[in-house]
Subunit: 698 residues, 2 copies
């Protein structure tokens, strides 16, 4: 167990601000604790002698061995209460009090003070502005909600307290059981990463569920979640997905969220399963908590009705699952045991006059087939079928064969008792076959995640010092936007660039052109001139004898354009036949939560018109870099489609990794674009470069 | 009312095959009719004196004025029974008997006989292999299912009888009311189109719902549904969407379905709303039956909880709806009436201590705002909020303002009675805010459909006779695949082609080249040589003096490739600078259900690698042709993106319409591809052509 174990399994909990006033939060929490907590409840309130039959203390310092203090005093004295808890040696504090960062300047200052206090005493602090926490094994309900969770394997964190009350109300009377629940509040100290870490080590947590509006440290989140999801599935709603939702979230939590694109790729890389709706959140949670993982993606459908069988097959087609191909043995056995009119190929239609026993025979046959990884049973009400008997049959078969099973009893009231039998045994049942299939698909998705192999990013032998010098030198010139003059940065990290140099005299230009020994490209280099071509600042195909004259021309044009422009010189560069290769683009953007995001795509219309690009959170490992090449729609064009030359994919993959290393090494690089990065059959060469520097990060 | 009115509102119904044998279908139907039908039930069975207390007749001919005969006799005597009904002057027959087309050769022959009998007597025949029909206003339950529908505004047809029983079982006890229900069975005579037509004229049908596995005549379906959806929404599941589902559907109904792409575009053009899941089918049906149509897409969210408010806003972002921008007046009024901590901008968060009265004040304010077209109320359970009171408030406000409203009471048991109050008043309530928003979105989608203006396809002045001659001439040569030799077909329909001709002598080649007066392209023309370039059968940039020699060369190469190839001659064609324009592709494919489908896209990688194309069922009107240009992802490339020349969109639009007219006029054209169709700033020119002919259609 991690360091938060006593937060959820305390022996003694104090309520700082306990009271018996009607309608007070301090009363609700004290009552909730009294109702079911196995340990001691300590009331703290200097204005009371007793509270709800408990002796009342003036201060937590008067009581020994308090494991958790729940703070419900008014905001102006809350931070003092927290300090007192720290002084008393209490390690875990749950701050229910609101009026902190969520409420403007004064509140933000108060939250800052809270943070200092928590840091000083190294507190595990939940909140502030939290509904509280729960843990069912010890009957702990330290919230001011109306419902206590029932025991189960789901641990749930929520950045919305109201959503916790909604979920508990909804879950009451359903077969949804929880281990721990935490309302994260403002996440001043403990955040989603801490609870994922904790629950990843908790043998009683089968599934981690989260409702989040932002993620504090994306990089850390990805690292922690990757490890945890090797053993424990994580299912998340990250709201604020859409533009409208993001601005609503910003006004709700005040948190400035990162871009949706970053969340999308970051959560995907973390191994957490992101869902969009509340329905999916709980459908996935339940099946992941209750059903075994499948040994593949092959699903068998057993039904007494052709039409619903077709709908179910469509749902399989929409999912990541595949229709199982039954073995000959299975088909023969079904042919023997099923009526002639039955369809003995998947979807298996055992027809309308099937009683539960025929479902049993069919289900046993298919679950015994090595080609079948899971099954869904779809039943319409008929005069000869007892849903109750069917439910028992399904429960028995599932237990006997140990494969995941879901059901679709397509009835209302008539299916009620049978549905209870099923869900009590952990078999999800829905009227809509699409939900049943989608839930089974979640199992297969998690099984894929669990078997992911995370490869450490490679560390290439690069000239980091040289790169640092180039950036320092730009910073010393107060330059924040760099262009081709920074091509050496790529050289330093082993990314091929055309032969060339930025020179500051006609003579040196001549010397470089001579080295190159062919026609050259010459470009003006100035941080003040962004669109060089527009002012005649680029000359292509300059013959050796024209190099000196062109140098002078370029300088004159630049001066004509802007008299006081900073001119760093002229770049003299080897000509690269761009048309002989495929233009790609490789870029980096820094996200406030997830850090550097690496972007790859084909250049030109593919990035600008079709927006056919793919992203990864850096650092990017070799397999991740390779997967970027597969992700884009235009990938076939890298691989010889329509008579194009195949490009050297290994060279592209290595360039992505080297760029990832560069931007990971230098947080000062805020944005960077290599455009184009020209890929040919045996190389990937960076032709042009733009980057933006944050000097403060140097 | 249409011609089917007496089917659903009969005075007298006969059961041919009525019986009192336990478990018999004939008994179930007779009992169901006796249970609630307002009219007379007539039992027909020559082997019985009475059935379930009814006098039993030997034949329907013995009873006058029967409006509907339900046939449940065994398959071998069913067709005779149908004939007898026809002889007796009965107009409507529901054939419940199975063992027809769905069961192999003998059954197919029997279905053919049934079809003849129905045609002879001009019967309105439902089935065979139908569960039966229902109509609630007259208490008609002519099915063998267990449940009778409750009365309401949804008329429902299903190609799966089992799905009807499932839906009725599920609907029992829910507030889902039906007008008519029909189990379509094998659709030997009456099909989806007939019922859409009927229900479109039925004032008691508010929404038409369908579960279909195929559509018999796509073109007729589109025409009928377009008209009906101007007044009555249609919501459909068309299953067999996915490859797996389509093959399951084929094995279920035996119907050979058309391509999913055709269904997708055909149903879209028909104005029916296609849904994918059973859940959507009924969510949409309920809100369309119960709520008014919105006057726009602007939605206001009123909630007592920030987090769920954000989730709801995300759902709006995912939908076709927009977050309403509240007027200053509304914002001021909310500022006056709501607490300081409330968020008075949309999503409106009236915070956790809101009682029902505050919801009422907020809801009245936003529903009175002209910028608000609809509202969703999202409420988490709190100590101060009574869901029951809230439900009453919402019902009152909805009725007062007449705008569509949906709710999300985020609770379980605690929300139960309130949820009943809401749904009884026609206000949909879901735990998941995404479902509430999605349902409201269905209203807005239907409102869009209702206001569609269907423009008649233009008829251009073309040389139809000439086109017919070209096709006849190919047919007379027994040629089914045509190439450039058929370019005149395009000329005849006013689609520009390069100047040129197919010639059969060097002299004629010379004459055409002289007319063109520049370098020409020359191609061998032979139905036996598909890939002309591969055998050297195409010469580009032939100078005038080389035309004769090239003619001879091309003939020789063709003969060398295949001694006995049919050689129609050599095409001599004006050179077109393909690079000066944008290559597009315009094609036609004939779908078994929907007829000719017109495809448009950009050529080359766009069609081959990115599959960026769009389809329409022909005939294509001018606005539809124009919308095809908007549909493709690469549309900006037609409009000058990345420095390209803008193409003449009007020329493309007209070419699409002219091609649509050509393939509509000649069903013999099974496939046709103009590739490339080169678009420039002032023209669209067809450069190459391939077409496939079905001689039997000529």
């Amino acid at each position: 167990m991690g360091r938060l174990s006593t937060l959820f399994a305390p022996d003694r909990v104090a309520v700082i601000g306990a009271t018996d006033s009607d309608g007070a939060v301090g009363r609700a929490i004290t009552e909730n604790l009294q109702a079911s907590f196995e340990g001691d409840v300590v009331a703290v309130n200097p204005y009371k002698e007793t509270v709800l039959g408990l002796p009342c203390y003036d201060s937590v310092t008067e009581v020994d061995d308090i494991d958790v203090a729940v703070v419900v005093v008014p905001p102006d004295i809350a931070v003092d209460a927290i300090r007192e808890a720290g002084e008393a040696g209490i390690e875990n504090v749950v701050v229910v009090t609101a009026g902190f960062g969520e409420t403007g300047t004064e509140g933000a200052a108060r939250e800052e003070a809270l943070r200092s206090a928590a840091a000083k005493y190294d507190l595990n602090l939940v909140g502030p502005n939290s509904l509280g926490i729960m843990s069912t094994p010890v009957g702990l309900n330290a919230t001011f909600g109306n419902e206590m969770a029932t025991e189960g394997g789901i641990s749930f964190m929520s950045q919305s307290g109201a959503f916790v009350t909604a979920v508990l109300d909804w879950a009451a009377g359903r077969d949804v059981g929880f281990k721990d629940i935490v309302s994260l509040g403002n996440k001043a100290i403990l955040d989603e990463r801490d609870f994922i870490d904790e629950w990843g080590d908790d043998p009683d947590t089968d599934v981690i569920l989260g409702y989040l509006e932002d993620i504090g440290d994306g990089g850390e989140f990805v690292r922690t979640a990757r490890e945890v999801t090797q053993d424990t599935p994580i299912v998340l709603v990250k709201s604020g997905r859409t533009d409208a939702g993001a601005s609503a979230a910003a006004s709700h939590t005040g948190a400035m969220a990162g871009s949706e694109a970053a969340y999308e790729v970051g959560i995907e890389q973390s191994g957490a399963i992101r869902v969009e709706t509340v329905q999916e959140l709980f459908d996935y949670a339940q099946i992941l908590a209750d059903q075994p993982l499948p040994r593949g993606k092959e699903i068998a459908i057993v039904t007494n009705a052709g039409g619903p069988g077709v709908m179910t097959t469509d749902a399989v087609g929409d999912s990541g699952l595949e229709m199982a191909e039954l073995t000959d043995h299975t088909v023969e056995k079904l042919a023997e045991t099923m009526p002639d009119e039955a369809n003995i190929y998947n979807p298996i239609d055992i027809i309308g006059d099937a009683p539960a026993a025929r479902f049993e025979a069919a289900l046993e046959t298919v679950l015994g087939d090595d080609n079948v990884a899971m099954a869904v049973v779809v039943a319409c009400p008929t005069a000869v079928l007892s849903f109750e008997n069917l439910a028992e049959v399904v429960v028995d078969c599932q237990q006997e064969y140990g494969l995941p099973v879901a059901t679709t009893l397509m009835g209302g009231k008539s299916a009620g008792p049978a549905a209870s039998t099923l869900t009590e045994s952990g078999i999800p049942n829905y009227f809509d076959p699409a939900r049943a299939v989608d839930s089974l698909d979640a199992l297969a998705r998690y099984d894929d995640i669990r078997s992911r192999e995370y490869v450490e990013p490679e560390t290439f032998d690069v000239n980091r010092d040289r790169a640092g010098e180039i950036l320092e030198s730009a910073a010393s010139r107060n330059q924040t936007r760099l262009g081709v003059e920074a091509m050496d940065l790529l050289d330093a990290y082993g990314i091929p660039t055309p032969h060339g140099e930025v020179v500051d005299s006609p003579g040196r230009a001549d010397a470089i052109a001579e080295e190159i020994g062919d026609e050259v490209v010459m470009k003006i280099v100035s941080p003040d001139i962004l669109h060089k071509s527009d002012i005649g600042g680029v000359e292509v195909g300059v013959a050796p004898e024209d190099v000196r004259g062109t140098y002078e021309d370029l300088i004159v044009r630049a001066r004509n354009y802007q008299r006081d422009a900073t001119i760093l010189g002229v770049q003299v560069q080897e000509m690269v036949d761009v048309d002989a290769g495929t233009e790609t683009i490789l870029g980096v953007n820094r996200d406030p939560q997830f850090g550097p995001l690496v972007l790859f795509g084909l250049g030109g219309i593919f990035v600008e018109v079709l927006e056919d690009t793919t992203l990864r959170v850096a650092p990017v490992s070799k397999p991740a870099a390779r997967s970027m090449l597969d992700d884009i729609e235009s990938a076939p064009l890298l691989r010889g489609a329509r008579g194009r030359a195949r490009v050297d994919e290994d060279a592209l993959v290595e360039t992505i990794q080297r760029l990832s290393q560069l931007v990971t090494d230098f947080p000062a690089i805020v944005e960077l674009d290599i455009n184009p990065l020209v890929a040919t059959g045996d190389s990937a060469t960076a032709i042009d470069l733009q980057l933006t520097l944050d000097q403060e990060e140097l």
